[in-house]
Symmetry: C2
Subunit: 278 residues, 2 copies
Amino acid sequence: MRDPFGARLQERVRALGPLCMGIDPSTLLLESWDRPDSVEGLEFAALAALEAALDVAAAIKPQVAFFERFGSQGYRVLERVLSDARDADILTIADAKRGDVAPTNVGYADAWLSDRSPLAVDAVTVSPYLGVGALSPFFALAQEAGRGVFVLAATSNEEGRAVQSARTRDDEKVEDLVLRSVSEMNGRDDGLGSIGAVLGATRDRPEFHLPSLGGPFLVPGVGAQGATAEHVARMFDRCPQGTVLANVSRSILQAGPDRAGLRDAAQRWRDDLARALA
Amino acid sequence: MRDPFGARLQERVRALGPLCMGIDPSTLLLESWDRPDSVEGLEFAALAALEAALDVAAAIKPQVAFFERFGSQGYRVLERVLSDARDADILTIADAKRGDVAPTNVGYADAWLSDRSPLAVDAVTVSPYLGVGALSPFFALAQEAGRGVFVLAATSNEEGRAVQSARTRDDEKVEDLVLRSVSEMNGRDDGLGSIGAVLGATRDRPEFHLPSLGGPFLVPGVGAQGATAEHVARMFDRCPQGTVLANVSRSILQAGPDRAGLRDAAQRWRDDLARALA
């Protein structure tokens, strides 16, 4: 039986630093790498990104959309990437942003968090538009399997603000409702819980007191989207050590396809983030 | 070049009635049908449901979660179901509830709406937690390809209420913001637009004036979840004819795996809905 995700992530971040390497093999990336926009191009790019992340990043975060583009063949590539990552002992986070009514979430939880699934990852991102309560099948299976869940609170993009900053009947912002719900489920102050939140570094600090989340933060928006390592450090000031995982995708991937270039870029970002968050 | 989705859907609903047949091959369904919880069981159940829908339902709505459970092999089954549905000339709606930042939505739109994708459907459901604006790649590709998009406004489940009824800075409920945004994009009053909204029949009528959406409604919550054909008729009173598509899943599927039973149940629901919405 594996240890809980929260503990495994904290151990990795302490050992390797807070970098999560985003694997976003988009059409634009394949073009800029001069690779075909095909299953073969996808596989090349995803495996090159994984290789650059090994022993540098605490985790990889494949963006599922860019695999789903190729249907079942794209998913076979994703299964290969996840299997190689497991063999190389690097944590995997599927950026899937799944979310539906509870009986349907049983299916999605199975897809991403069940030991029997070829798509099983250490953690998956989920979207709370249908309510945090509807996500309970993810939380239950994560707990059982020693895996994790990151619930979207405030995302890195400007268009997300209207919904995420809307106020509930209790005059609480939606993003704060999500953070509070996560913290109640974790119920601890050491950050070792396995339910995390996604909070964009490009956004204002929420009203919720971040150090009391009880679990990890997954932080997009760093690099190409505008936030620096210092922005991340300021926003997550006083959070328990090892609970902040900053995702960088495009700013690293643009250094490819040259393998040394990719690896250098990943190491530079890791060092920057580790220094700022120390 | 195919006709726009809005026009194709309206024509189908007028010809066959307003039933959308949900294809939800969950673990529970496979158990109740005494089939193995495997790729083979999945394929049997999905194809049996498709068969029952032919010439009865205006569209089928496969629930993607239950295919994703089996990874690439499950997606191969979904590709088979979609290909058979295309051959049989029944409309297909992928219930995927995808939604991310705009550059990532380019990938998801490609997956579900591009002519080159093995997963291409007539329409896909999307989730606006990251903002309606971030969904623009779906709207653009749908327009170009004669396909459609259904944006979640208010879902059928109770847990969705806190987020969907939260109020934006302009004191508008999130669900009304979604409906208004969709109506502005359609910009017409005949309901023939190709951007639709998901609105659960189990929810209160929103403040937004439903007949002015300009596109179709996809309506979950009918049958097992509690709403009747009469609830649907009352909620969508005065909407243009052919713009309301009511989804029924469990209440039909529980009549299986017997093919005659499935078909009878589908026809009964179609007749009920057609009468109530006439």
